[in-house]
């Protein structure tokens, strides 16, 4: 499993990439592997407000429904429009093609408390 160093991670297994005050959000390699085949994705519309720790979307595997939580607060600036038609990209490319939303953050310092790759891997090891 792969956990890129340049990303930060949440306890609920989302990843976040920060570029100035723009955050790209998806789910981690561990999350996609645990879910199994992703067959449905529900994402917010552009302009929607998201709140740190609150669900902004849903992914469904064949068997289960899971909420996706926003790691930060802000406004959705861009949505991965290809995902609803090809939800399997979350399995095949969780950090690249499988990104979900880009959020213009209200407060870019909010992401500072999130886990780095090493801390996240320790978190996963604990959860197992």
């Amino acid at each position: 499993m792969d956990f890129p160093e340049e990303l930060k991670y949440t306890e609920e297994h989302e990843w976040i990439l920060i570029e100035d005050d723009l955050a790209t959000v998806g789910i981690s390699d561990f999350a996609q592997d645990s879910l199994g085949d992703v067959v449905f994705v529900e994402l917010p519309e552009e302009g929607t407000e998201v709140i740190a720790g609150k669900a902004f979307g849903v992914v469904e595997s064949v068997k289960a429904v899971s909420d996706i939580y926003s790691p930060v607060s802000g406004v959705v600036e861009e949505v991965n429009e290809e995902l609803p038609d090809t939800p399997e990209m979350i399995n095949t490319s969780p950090y690249e093609d499988g990104w979900m939303i880009k959020v213009r953050m209200n407060d870019s310092s909010e992401a500072e408390d999130l886990m780095d790759s090493e801390a996240y891997q320790a978190h996963i090891a604990e959860e197992k």
Partner: protein, 362 residues
């Protein structure tokens, strides 16, 4: 948690294990969709050793079975299998199962794993009530492992390991025979709708058989299949699963299983209630449901006709073959019309769907 004789092997194969009906079972190996499609197009190998086996024998075995079950066991011949159910006096379902006739005075049930003890106790209770003396009941679940080999390539794979002429075993029939030198019951039955066999064998030989089938099957596209795909395979074919489409609160007539309820065969447990249900018409009916909007209907999601909730989903999934949301629903009879457009409540939204006849795939 109980373990099947193949537990260690599943872990070696990298299966993801889950608790199911008190058993630790593989839910998936390579992935549900891949496993599902392999069974539809080639073949799949399933460990279903958790299923229970209960033997009924003795001179009065048949009259007892006629009183115990809803289907007509009197129509079975040696080597034949029948899909049947046990009902409570109010018409609710104790369990659904297959019944094997080994000889005129020797039968075997294959029952749902989680229901094995409940079924066995129920059978003992009904036996006492029946007043029949020449009947012996045996829970022989520990004597059998069960491996299902399912899919269009199943015959070719099994033929490589046995001298038994498989063509002579017709659908819903079985024969004793050796496969890979192991004595077993070879049954042309299954829960996938893709053809194939269910093999009943001594637990000590299960791993050997699995490995031999895997070896021979590899070039035919055989893959191990977990409970995840077992569920999507049965759902695409509209097959009922106990606890979902059938339960103590859902009668076989409501579930659309009138064909296994033989009201004219003589008295049986639940008959009176089922006769009344049939005369008055069932209040709810099981129907297939296919999404028009994009979305996946899941168990317990409400079904609406206009503003009114008229039913509830009993099972649902994304169909790996059709790539659309499908499911089975229990709907108030006046609304349970084929081709009717309904809505499913999914996370607070109403999404369009159509009621259809199951199976969803040919």
């Amino acid at each position: 948690m109980k373990k099947t004789p193949l537990n260690q092997l599943h872990k070696e194969l990298g299966a993801r294990m889950v608790e199911f009906g008190g058993w630790e079972m593989p839910v998936q190996y390579a992935g549900v969709i891949e496993e599902h499609l392999a069974v539809r197009e080639a073949a799949g190998l399933f460990d279903v050793s958790h299923m229970g086996e209960i033997e009924v024998s003795g001179a009065e075995a048949l009259p007892f079975l006629q009183y115990l079950t809803t289907n007509n066991a009197g129509r079975l011949v040696d080597g034949q299998v029948q899909y049947t159910a046990l009902c409570y006096p109010d018409g609710g379902v104790v369990d659904d199962m297959t019944l094997y006739r080994r000889s005129a005075d020797h039968f075997m049930f294959c029952v749902n794993a989680a229901n094995t003890d409940k079924d066995f106790e129920w059978m003992q209770k009904v036996l006492v009530e029946s007043g029949l003396a020449e009947v012996t009941l045996n829970n022989v679940s520990d004597d059998y492992a069960q491996i299902a080999l399912q899919g269009p390539k199943a015959d070719r794979i099994l033929t490589a390991l046995t001298d038994v002429p498989l063509d002579s075993i017709r659908y819903y029939h079985f024969a004793p025979g050796e496969v890979a030198g192991i004595p077993m019951l070879i049954s042309r039955t299954g829960y996938t709708g893709s053809g194939g066999f269910e093999l009943y064998l001594p637990p000590a030989s299960a791993e050997n058989l699995w490995r031999r089938l895997d070896e021979v099957g590899e070039s035919h596209g055989l893959v191990p299949v977990g409970l995840g795909a077992r569920d999507t395979l049965r759902l695409e074919k509209g097959l009922a699963l106990y606890g979902h489409e059938l339960s103590p609160e859902i009668s076989p007539l409501e579930a659309g299983l009138g064909w296994i309820v033989k009201l004219d065969k003589g008295d049986f447990v639940g008959r009176e209630a089922l006769v009344a249900q049939k005369a008055n018409g069932v209040p709810r009916r099981g129907v297939g449901l296919k999404m028009i909007d994009r979305g996946i209907p899941r168990e317990e999601y409400p079904v609406y006709a206009g503003e009114r909730q008229v039913g509830v989903m009993t099972s649902g999934t994304m169909s790996p073959s059709l790539k659309v949301g499908i499911g089975l629903a229990l709907v108030e009879t006046p609304y349970a019309k084929l081709d009717a457009e309904v809505e499913v409540g999914i996370r607070g939204r109403r999404l369009q769907a159509r009621l259809v006849r199951a199976p969803f795939v040919d």
